[in-house]
């Protein structure tokens, strides 16, 4: 009789968890130990990490490869502007509203795009984002094609400039941690198990009674809600919105996809690594202009050819290590040989 232990965590993941807690506490306290310029950079980092994590949930775990998530970023942005302009709301209060309505509008969108499979689904989501952009450009009450700026009075409601920056940073921090925690919980739940089953073998899981359609829809709606909330926050930081900026495929989809793919798609850690690398590259190569984007594109291609699980996949392969234990590990069992 052999004995085996099954666990989620490993010693390494427990040490990492300890370090992660310290890092999270330090980041929560960032407004009190870093400069205002750094705080803005950190805010942007949190925004990209949250976007990357939601796209990763969608594409990496549910196999829904969308290239149209900028639809929800722009939707959230315009919704926030509408709340401020027409309801006189505090911009930050518009964030949860953007989440709810972003999730709701994702349902009719899914009705259309879920009819397309695989790569066609991808381009279908892009068409939807185009529809969103063109519709926004038609609405003259929110500035039409040229866009508009947020009223100064609305921003004053958030306090002085430095108070505002702290408030926005803490919101970004909360959204980002929230996104990571929600995704972690989803993956450890029955839905996570079902997603793994679907990823391994869609037909077999269907015959076992996994409601694939409903699970994919649920993931799509959750990702849309999260992305819309981040979108609302993004345009609070930008103070100005226009259809081209709100529905920018480069800013909100291309970079996000490259971040996840380079970091490691289908892993919790991938988006973190990818976002870090993205900011390092951006800060060091931004002067190169167009070349910088070409390098990013080439990097994504090379990663896909050489190590489809991204940089984090390389780490896992080498060290058998995981920061976020979402799977189970069996220890002490040796293969039967007779």
């Amino acid at each position: 009789m052999q004995s085996a232990t099954i666990s989620r965590s490993t010693r390494a993941s427990r040490i990492a968890a300890g370090l992660a807690v310290i890092l999270v506490v330090a980041l929560a306290a960032a407004p009190w130990w870093t400069s205002s310029a750094n705080l803005r950079l950190f805010t942007e980092f949190m925004i990209y990490l949250a976007l990357a994590s939601s796209w990763n949930l969608l594409a990496g775990y549910a196999g829904l490869i969308s290239v149209g998530q900028h639809a929800y970023v722009g939707f959230g942005g315009y919704l926030m502007f509408s709340c401020v302009l027409f309801l006189g709301l505090n911009p930050l209060y518009a964030i949860p509203i953007a989440g709810v309505l972003g999730g709701l509008i994702a349902i009719p969108v899914a009705f259309f795009v879920f009819r397309l499979k695989g790569p066609y689904f991808a381009i279908g989501t892009w068409v939807v984002a185009e529809v969103f952009r063109l519709s926004a450009a038609q609405m003259s009450s929110v500035g039409g094609g040229s866009g508009l700026s947020i009223p100064v009075s609305a921003m004053r409601a958030l306090g002085s400039k430095s108070e505002r920056e702290i408030l926005i940073y803490l919101t970004a921090f909360a959204l980002c941690i929230g996104a990571v925690v929600v995704i972690y919980l989803v993956l450890r739940s029955r839905i996570g198990l079902a997603l793994t089953a679907i990823r391994d073998n869609e037909i077999a899981s269907l015959s076992l009674g996994v409601p694939i359609g409903r699970i994919k829809l649920a993931v799509y709606v959750v990702a849309a809600a999260g992305t819309a909330m981040i979108g609302a926050l993004i345009f609070i930081t930008k103070l100005r919105i226009s259809p081209d900026a709100a529905f920018s495929v480069n800013d909100w989809t291309v970079f996000v996809i490259f971040i996840v793919v380079i970091g490691g798609i289908g892993t919790m850690e991938g988006p973190i690594i990818g976002t870090l690398l993205y900011f390092v590259l951006r800060e060091s190569l931004a002067d190169l202009g167009a070349f910088y984007l070409m390098i990013l594109g080439a990097l994504a291609i090379v990663i896909m050819l050489a190590t489809p699980n991204g940089l984090w996949g390389l780490v896992v392969k080498r060290f058998d290590f995981s920061l976020f234990p979402v799977g189970y590990r069996v220890r002490g069992l040796t293969p039967k040989s007779d």
Partner: protein
């Protein structure tokens, strides 16, 4: 009369969309690949033509003699050297790789040719038109584009069903393993398919560049028009793709007739309506 005119011009524009779509349809049929860089390659072909014309002084239409083989060679190399490595199995790698290519191509064009919009000058043919009746003029250039689309689709149809190359395409698409046992080399069959796709892309790019201004970033929307035409017409049906392009063109024309801002929106809405009621397109291939 304005409405009749809008419909006629829409049909003719549909020919251009069918040209965008035919190459996309072709490679999906042979190897189930969706090339996200397709639109950027169309724009790339327009710039290749621009370079050829400025070097030789050829008329844009005559420049096709050079642009078509150049693009076909690029297609063969691209497929053989890069895309063959990510084909088959998981759908993510080909999507990401062609997505990466799209970004690289846009920025390469930006770097080499700047962001200024350009246009190819084909001479008087651009402005001359055929007076059909009062209030309905048909430009020679839109007409020529439509005729080119019909000819190209007819030749692709012929190539697919009447030649040994087409036989190889269909056999590889049906059952790649057995086709290899019969002596076909998948990698080369795919490379020829991509070469053919980019030969069509070359024609699409030159016609696009004669009819409108172009810049390095207009590729993605050409991809979307082509994609919509393919889905409206029904996957794997080349004549369906032409019909899809025409429907898209007419929808845009009618939208523009109502309000210029609705031109593109009307095309997308037509696509979504067809997707809702006929998810497999209007003329799906029967098998």
């Amino acid at each position: 009369m304005e409405w009749v005119n809008a419909i006629v011009q829409g049909i003719l524009t549909g020919g251009l969309y069918a040209l965008f779509a035919a190459g996309l349809s072709l490679i999906f049929g042979v190897m189930r690949l969706v090339n996200i860089a397709h639109g950027d390659l169309i724009v790339g072909a327009a710039y290749v033509a621009l370079a050829v014309i400025s070097a030789t002084g050829l008329n844009p239409l005559a420049s096709l003699v050079i642009v078509v083989p150049v693009m076909a060679a690029i297609g063969y190399g691209l497929q053989f050297g890069l895309l063959n490595r990510v084909i088959g199995g998981n759908i993510l790698p080909p999507l990401i790789v062609t997505f990466g290519l799209s970004v690289i191509l846009q920025n390469l064009l930006l770097q080499v040719f700047s962001a200024d919009s350009r246009k190819l000058n084909a001479g008087p043919i651009e402005t001359d038109s055929l007076k059909i009746m009062p209030g309905l003029d048909v430009g020679y250039m839109p007409l020529l584009t439509f005729v080119a689309a019909v000819l190209i689709i007819a030749s692709l149809q012929f190539l697919f069903y009447k030649t040994s190359m087409g036989r190889a395409f269909r056999a590889t698409s049906d059952d790649g393993e057995i086709a290899q046992i019969m002596g076909l080399d998948n990698r080369r069959v795919f490379a020829w398919a991509m070469a053919l796709s980019l030969a069509v892309v070359a024609v699409a790019g030159v016609f696009l560049a004669i009819r409108a201004n172009f810049d390095p970033f207009m590729g993605p929307s050409r991809l979307i028009f082509g994609f919509e035409a393919v889905i409206i017409g029904g996957l794997g049906n080349l004549w369906g793709t032409l019909a899809g392009g025409v429907i898209l063109g007419v929808a845009q024309g009618l939208g523009a007739q109502i309000d210029p801002g609705w031109q593109l929106l009307a095309g997308h809405v037509a696509f979504l309506i067809i997707l809702a009621f006929r998810p497999r397109g209007l003329f799906p291939r029967i098998d």
